[in-house]
Amino acid sequence: MKRKLIITLLTMALVAMAVTGCGKKGASSDNSSNESSDTSGKEEVKSLRFLDVVPSETRQTYYEGIFEKFQEETGIEVTYESVPWDDAANKITVLGSSGQLPDVMTTWSGWLGQYTVAGWVVPLDEYVTDIRGEYTDAVNNLLWKSEEERYGHVYTIPDGLMVKGVFVRKDWCEEAGIKLDPTQDWTYDDYFDLVAKLTDVSEKHYGTSYRGARGALDPLLVYMQGYTGGNTYDQQGKILINSEDCLNAFIKWTDVYKNGYAPEDSINWGFTEMVDNFTGGLTGTLINDSEVAATCQKNMSDDQWMVMPMPKSTVDGKIYNTINAPYSYSISGDSKSPDVAWKLVEFLSRSENSIEYCKLTGEIPIKKDVENDETYGLNGPYATFVQQLNDPDLAVPTTYGPFDYTDLHQGMFHEEIQKYLLGKEEAGTALTNITDELQSRMNDYMTKNPDATIETALKLQ
């Protein structure tokens, strides 16, 4: 009996291995890489690999549909590859360092510093030259301009635009007798005031979704830049965000947590928890991208939420707001045939495709001819975001610097802030540790690139 079992087991294993298990290749991705290397990048390339870094049911369905259309038109087959957002950066690094990047990949702007240095993305200037006019001012004057300033070339084609706003619990405000008007300006002080008023711990109502973990410094940087004209460094490359004003801003921002206007747990919150806890009814405000509007629509009723523009700086009255294309398309350095890859990018960016995509993912259109689609009108869910784009006071602040800061973003930035929140460190020490590290990297960069111009905050109008 037992012997029989063993024999059956062995046979089954062999069969399983022979038939299915080992050596079976996934989809057509391998064919594509093999094929493209065989034909060494001539016109015969018949398949492409596409990597999505924020896979979801919606996105996968959209892309698979659009790839089918692309194949009908061009005969080129596209494989949809994806990696969960959490692991995306790691995965691309592994792919990149072993020369296995897919032809086209969706890229987050924060990664570009690393990717351009490593040659994982190729410049798209020559493709873009003739079609610039089709894209909105925001793309031309903000996105591409800043890429050119930072990296010397245009490297990405935006998938759509993302603008930040303050999501607010409309019903909580009404209960508390607070009147908010999205078309009226407001300042950071008004915002802090609102956060305090919405907090009612006995009801389990907290003022805001405080971001304590990875990315904790991002919104805080923008707030501090309200005191430095939107810049991180001055024209000599000296760091600006360590001033007295900025330290006070640092303290004021973190007081939201220290005063208990955010759940104690939020010291560990990243993007996901912030959104989850806002839509779940624990927190009253949330500073986040327009993309989140789709999540809110899905999980909340219309009378529960609204969007305010980002608060204005109390110093110069500007709205400092990061504007980027969250998962813009780039062509990888490993693509055997960038020309064919470009065909795909161009197809994806066609007005009718791009507007369909934007509506699906909650992004702002990038093409002039579909800019005024009614979804993005005054009564649509994106009114506040579009309105900010048209605000003469809008300015896009600079980033942490033109160098690779991924490791700091993964660690030091939020850890120093956390140490202060936990009372293990003074606010000044935390901020100084961060700014000293940034300054030393900036100095390194300046030594290596003496001719580099230092980026400054960009204005749309």
């Binding site: 990875r214 747990d265 010291i267 560990n268 490791d407 120093e416």
Partner: protein
Amino acid sequence: MKKKWDKRKPGHHAEKSKMEPYFYILPVVLLLILTFGYPLLKSIIMAFQNYKLSNINDVYFNNFANFKKMFGDSDFLLLLKNSLIYVVISVTGQFVLGLILALTLKQKFRGRGLYQAIVFLPWAFSTFVVGLLFRWSFNGEYGVVNDLLIRAGIVDKGIAWLGTPGLSLVIIILAMIWLGIPFFGIMILAALQSIPEEVYEAADMDGCGLINKFFNITLPFIKPTVIITILLRTIWIFNSFDLVVIVTGGGPANYSQTLPSFMYTKAFSGYDFGLAGALGLMLMVILSIYAMVFLKISNYDKAGDF
């Protein structure tokens, strides 16, 4: 003579060739050398190189710069402390609870088969799922643990388990213990069952007490199993980082970060493989020293040949 049988196994099979044992061992050893050898060498070399994945064209030897960076990290001592606390408490907890479980399971009772199947279930869990389950249950606002504590009147305000230094590491340790009890339980139970009944009967005749029997019969009998299980579990747990990454991500402010999770989140996400190699090398050195000392102290050579 030429044929060397294991001395403990009586009997010879003289005509077999000297090469025979290698026929059995070699496939596995070769496979492992091929697959582990290269990575091992590679990471040792990387430890002494400036090896950033983000800049793969700029690889050069930088002597001990990676080690300087590693030891120079202001949180290094904290990480080392966390790692030790994590591994010592997890292994001790698993061992003690696993031992108690095995001792109670040794005697037959009705429904033992089913009971055994249930209490050994955590072993079948994936770390990922357990990590999420604990993270969810210990959530400060939605967590069932806080709710239970408040209902029981033990606390009047929810505790931020995962947001408090010290506590967040405790949750990771709890999850690790929960996952690991069955492994110890099974190994020890098996060892217990292989103790011949006659030994206990003889002890009964001599009027030995329960505690006496435990220390003089049970423990010596299961010692080899316990030693090898503790050794392996320590190595595995020391190197494991998935629970840390899933439950807290090392937070807040590195207070639940261990050396391997630091290696994963910082060196890997920062793409600094030189640093990762240096950390890896140090982990291996620590583990080798531990293994040697542990085997020496426990006199394992006498119990079996390792």
